[in-house]
Subunit: 260 residues, 6 copies
């Protein structure tokens, strides 16, 4: 039984529902999805500031639930807190953007990221850069203009998003399209036939990559830059996070691991 | 039922057997593995010249079997012929190196490639470059010296390969290790406990990524740089490959696809 | 009168004191330093996880004090939360690493970062990458081994750090040295004569660059990726941060700014 | 006497004739051109798949003729099989694209590649990347639309290609123009006066660079990544190629070469 | 008292006056500006050739005045001779472009360079590349067309330059704008309110960075690539430059400096 | 008849003699070498400062002799003044480093630069960077220690340079070796048999590339960044250089050239 924590770092439960609906049909027989919505933060992360706020909250939620899941997904495109979560957790953690981009890499040489709000651009670009995938990026194309509601933005903008994807293919040389952002979960399946290159459904990619990492059965690093950090005291953090930081690799065992 | 063609571009059936043994336990319920060994070529591809020879043979074998599989794996680390195969085939094709590297990316910031023969270095490096992943590469570390037989090289060199992996972690900053090359298939599982970061088993990664691509159900591109090439006559090629080149997207349908 | 908020994202007031002592002699006549120590978090940030936690706390502290300063310094080498702070604040915000690295760029072609703990390496490297300065980086050299106390680590390790700096110059081609990390504040002045290239004192660089930004009198962006984000509701955040997120550029004024 | 093998990896003898006509007037007194047309393959290589097929055929032809030439040119822009040929052959081998691009580098900071078919784009771009020259590339500009025949495409499209070159200069910042693709051999001389920057004739550049490499008299590498690979058995290949693979550097002599 | 040599490598005293006027109000209490106009060369450097000529003249002027200043500014955007000056002089030397670009980096992720003459483009781009800042560059945008006089070009083109800056922000993603070129000195202050992101005044940035370097009190390198070169005889140079080249670090003292 | 100006930017006629001796045997029948030694400057350029001084002198010499040669070689490894010379001269100009590096690119994937003085390192590296060839550079390896005389340094250091080349091959992965610096002219031919990869003789490469550019018959750019700059007045320069700057493309003819 593989327990997959699907952590939506946005506070909108509507978005969590979209993610669950899009991913559920693709779960393997032995997998369970544990959806969690961020208890604090903003309805939809779109900027560096909101991502910075979400980073700590992601760690908080994961620390609180440590031991109850076998792999975790940080389910906001932009992957807030991913690196830190990967250090701290004893099980694999992956990001929505990471899973979508790496999957897209197997479907062509360059992918484009298409989404519904221009505000997302700088944050998305920095996310691609951090993953070292700028060479594989054909373009980021974003709609310009307001939308009525997060829960329905994918219906409202469907035609415009398809048009944007087609421009990415024709003008930017995209071999694959990622419809990015948790609020677009489920859209790929509906529009696939109207976009002439493979379209990656981020949350499905994330769930399947999560299962893959569990199957690969890769142990937690006890060396390298993603080993659990040394135990560290803290003040003013949640009890779970405080506990998690204190539970780091003890220096003793770490030294034992030091290679000659 | 997902039919996964596992094409070993080397002519050694021993190596094909190693690949099948390593991958089989991890197949999903609905998947079948169709192993194929290259009918022509060299026992073990190690250089640019041998990879160039294998590229055409890979296309040949795939063309001959087109229609009998739902996804194909080019199972030599170095991915000979991968780009061409992805253009030509109506179903997804992935490479052993590609699958291993992209999986490793989810387990750390930088990975090292460890293998048993120094001759492999230049070809491997060019493969990483073509995939645009040099920023994620900590190092390529290769043993220097002869080995008794391909089929047993992983036993013969086990200790030295572990030592090399440890040096990659300690000196090069590797967060994950790929034991590369089809002849090392199955080794990761045995040595995992003696290497202090995640170790990626390439062929398991490839099989699971292949299943993932089928589940993502991404259609064949009819635009972009991986759409099926225009039909083209040829001379002197195998009947299957000739047929496959002739069966390209007709210019008419392609024009229909041209986006405004 | 220029009010410079010097925010130490670590919780150690000892480190804050070091920073203030090192910077004070170099303040311009019209400048005041407002030192603040993070009220929550860890004594000394050293990993991605700890930086992720600090990011949100940095925004929190800045939001709470908005209006009381003319420029802010995020005074941990690694610059946690810098991008978000720069979006959110109506005045300039700079990072300790950023100020040190950009200053070092004027003293040579490549700089090395020297510090006291190997754990800092991955976080520091990602910081250099985010600032787009990897081409200017000769090396990051870090001591390996425990230290007695943060407050005295610069005394305890003085000789070893000088040795490391010399190796960076001789073996890595460094033209300038950054003694990195808030706990090393003040060390540069003492060891300068024993290191044969320019040594940058990070906090002095940060204070002077902060004054420079105020003098340049550059207005807050109302366009581009660092304009104040659109107003956004939130839940569970501190009242100050909630207020700050709500006070974003109103969409109306933003549209007015949209350039034809 | 320098014998230059001019190997057209396309099967169209028309194209071979164009290449010979364009290059012959520029041959040095002591040079002879030995034109060879690929006996198998496609009339005009335009995609990754076709290049993969051609790679092995290039090696085959070269192996068969080994000993009858002093230098070889792989005369398709895209350089199929170049790296492998350089490993395998005891004499220098250069590519049409490589020779054109390196010559263009001496005529300006950035060059543009102009050709007659959009299908060539992805393959050309990967060729530039493999040669590590993306920084020197201003743009690849390609005509969109069918053409009547390979042999006359340069006449049919002359005006449009000049227009494309001018756009590359004006809009993309090209300092030099490469009219790319063997079917355009000879066009540069005719259109030079209507293009306001230097225009490189690829096959002339290739012939002169081939002569230069012979004059430099650089010995075949017996170390490094282009030394002749270790001898290797094979099955199902042409007798010539089988012989060539078997004739590799013997491990004994190679060890002798191993540097301390 | 900090003596700042402001060396205008152009021969136009009008431009020197503009620089002095723009910078003077921002000088710190203890600073004096020593303006110098190049005694030889061209009125306004705009090309690689003119910059090459200016490079030697910059060294000449600095050598002649060595000992009379505490820091020097090479006040042409493009920084002719900067690297050599930094080697040769016993005090810090900075460039106008360098100071402006590094300051802009603290005001956003990417900056655009806006100027009045298309001829400047290639030289400016190579300057950004030499400083390793291409990743931080959003665009270079230049007016196309003649101007009446250098001294008044900023008035004549004011509206068009603002328009160009706005296009850089809207279309190229600039977070900050540099109005580049000594003839635009002083313009930033006047147009700041009509450009919706921070605008960097290059000469003010240069003067303040110069003061900062003096305050950082970084000693002249006696190792690394900017130590004073070994003493070297010369012929036909100005007496001052000849003396300066002869006064290099003596090999003896250099060897003493060699680190073990 | 091709008149090749071989301009040694160093003032040592000994070095000019070495260059002429090394190149002469390889001149084509119709070529003449016109050797010129810099009338001003230093005996051997080794630093950024010396290169900056040489840049203007190179332009001066070329301007003075304009009309008396069909192609020019800037014969110091480091290529001082190359870009400006290429703008200003109506015939092709190439650099010693440029010719050697581009030729080496055809002999392997990565080359190493080997020379006799550590002081040359920074200048050489910046030269490789300016040519956009860092990806092709395996390493720069330089001897550390004094030498008796420029004219005999190649004899004195022969054994050490061979050893350095071998280390570059074995440890750095060099596929080809450039013995760099005009004082090493002629050495390659003598040591070729003791270095197991191709060795490029820079001045031979330069002369043959110069002949190639003349044969390619590429017209002087009248557009792009290497067209002759607009005419410009100057003061205090040599009469020849003043004339050359005044003789630029007149704006009128340039406008005529402006492409629609």
């Amino acid at each position: 039984m593989t327990r997959i924590l699907l952590l939506n770092p946005n506070t909108s439960t509507d978005v969590t529902d979209l993610l669950v609906q899009a991913a559920s049909p693709f779960l393997s027989a032995g997998s369970t999805l544990i959806p969690v919505t961020a208890p604090r933060g903003v309805p939809y992360i779109a900027t560096r500031a909101e991502a910075a706020i979400a980073s700590g909250i992601v760690l908080d939620v994961l620390a609180e639930r440590e031991g109850t899941f076998d792999v975790a997904i940080v389910a906001a495109f932009g992957d807030p807190g991913l690196g830190g979560a990967r250090e701290l957790m004893p099980v694999p953690v992956i990001g929505l953007a990471e899973a979508a981009m790496l999957s897209a890499c197997m479907l062509g040489q360059r992918f484009s990221i298409v989404s519904f709000s221009r505000a997302l651009g700088p944050w998305f670009r920095e996310c691609v850069a951090i993953h070292g995938l700028l060479d594989r990026l054909a373009s980021i194309r974003l709609l310009d203009g307001p939308f009525a509601s997060l829960a329905n933005v994918q219906d409202e903008k469907e035609g415009l998003l398809i048009e944007l994807a087609r421009r990415a293919i024709e003008d930017d040389g995209a071999d694959a399209i990622i419809l990015a952002g948790a609020p677009l979960a489920g859209l790929a399946a509906r529009v696939r036939d109207r976009i002439p290159v493979p379209v990656v459904e981020s949350v499905v990619a994330a769930v399947k990559q999560a299962e893959l990492l569990v199957i690969l059965n890769s142990k937690k690093a006890s060396a390298g830059s993603f080993r659990r950090p040394d135990p560290k005291p803290s003040i003013g953090l949640s009890p779970a996070l405080e506990r998690s930081l204190l539970a780091g690799t003890s220096p003793a065992s770490q030294r034992h691991e030091k290679l000659s």
